[in-house]
Symmetry: C2
C-alpha cells in the first residue's frame, strides 16, 4: 500500500512540491491518493493526508471505520486530528526519521500505527529538507531560524 502513497509523493515532487504522499484504502481497495499542495496551490491545509481525504470525498462513518490511511511521512498534528475526527482505525507511516508527528496521540486514541521505516521515503524527505529548509519549516509551522 505504501507504493500508492510513494507514487503520490513523487508526483508532488515532480510538480515542484513538497514530496509527501498519501493513500486511503477501504477493505484493501485504493479509494484515493493525495499529496502536499503547499507549493502548487499555496495551500496551508492540503497536506498529503488532507488532500487524500478530500480527494476521497464525502464518505459515511462506516467507510472510514474500515479504512487505512497511508502516508509517506509521520502525520503532523493537523493530519493526526483529521484521522481521529473520521475514526480511521489504521495509519501506516512510511518513515518518521525526518519528522515525528502525532503517532502517540493516535495510539492513545486506539489507532493502530505502523511505521515502515522505508528507505525511499527517508531519502525523499532528507533531500527535500536539505534543499528547501525554509519551505519545510513553513509546512510544519516552524520558523527556520529556530531550527538546528
Amino acid at each position: 500500500m505504501l507504493q500508492s502513497a510513494l507514487e503520490a509523493a513523487r508526483a508532488g515532487a515532480a510538480t515542484g512540491g513538497i514530496p509527501i504522499g498519501s493513500a486511503l484504502f477501504i477493505d484493501g481497495r485504493l479509494v484515493a491518493t493525495g499529496h502536499n499542495r503547499r507549493v502548487q496551490d499555496a495551500s496551508v491545509i492540503h497536506h498529503a493526508e488532507m488532500n487524500c481525504l478530500e480527494n476521497a470525498g464525502r464518505l459515511p462513518a462506516a467507510d472510514y471505520a474500515r479504512a487505512t490511511l497511508v502516508t509517506t511521512l509521520s502525520p503532523c498534528d493537523m493530519c493526526t486530528g483529521a484521522a481521529l475526527l473520521y475514526g480511521i482505525p489504521r495509519v501506516i507511516v512510511g518513515e518518521n526519521r525526518t519528522f515525528v508527528g502525532g503517532e502517540d496521540l493516535l495510539r492513545s486514541r486506539g489507532v493502530e500505527v505502523t511505521v515502515l521505516d522505508d528507505p525511499e521515503c527517508v531519502e525523499l524527505m532528507t533531500a527535500f529538507i536539505a534543499a528547501h529548509p525554509a519551505l519545510w519549516a513553513e509546512d510544519i509551522g516552524e520558523d527556520e531560524s529556530d531550527r538546528p
Copy 2:
C-alpha cells in the same frame, strides 16, 4: 471578534451549508474568515477553521504566533490539530454546548482557550442539528444511527 466568525457562519448557512464560522486575527486585526464548506464544495476538510486558515494563506510562523483563531463552535480534532500545527496561541470558542472538541488537548499544549457560551452560536447549531441530524453526524465523523 466573535461577530466576524458569526457573520461567516450566517454566510455559510445562507448558501445551504453547515452554520459554523471562523475568523483569524493577528495583532487584533482581522486577516481572514471562513465557514464550513461540506455542503457547498463536498469538502471533508473545509471545516470553518480550516477554511479560514486556508483563506488566510501562507503565513510565517511569527504571524501565527501572534494570532487568535475564533470559531463559533468548539473545534473538532482536525481543527484542533491545525491550530496546534501552526502554533496559534489563542482560540476563542463561541459555544461548546452542542459539541465539545479538542479544548483539553489545546490547553494541554499551552493554548489559551476561551469559551464565550454565546446564545446566537448555540441557537444556530441547535436549529441546524435538529433539522439535519445526518449531515451533522457526517461532519463530525459519526454514524447518525449511533447518536442518541
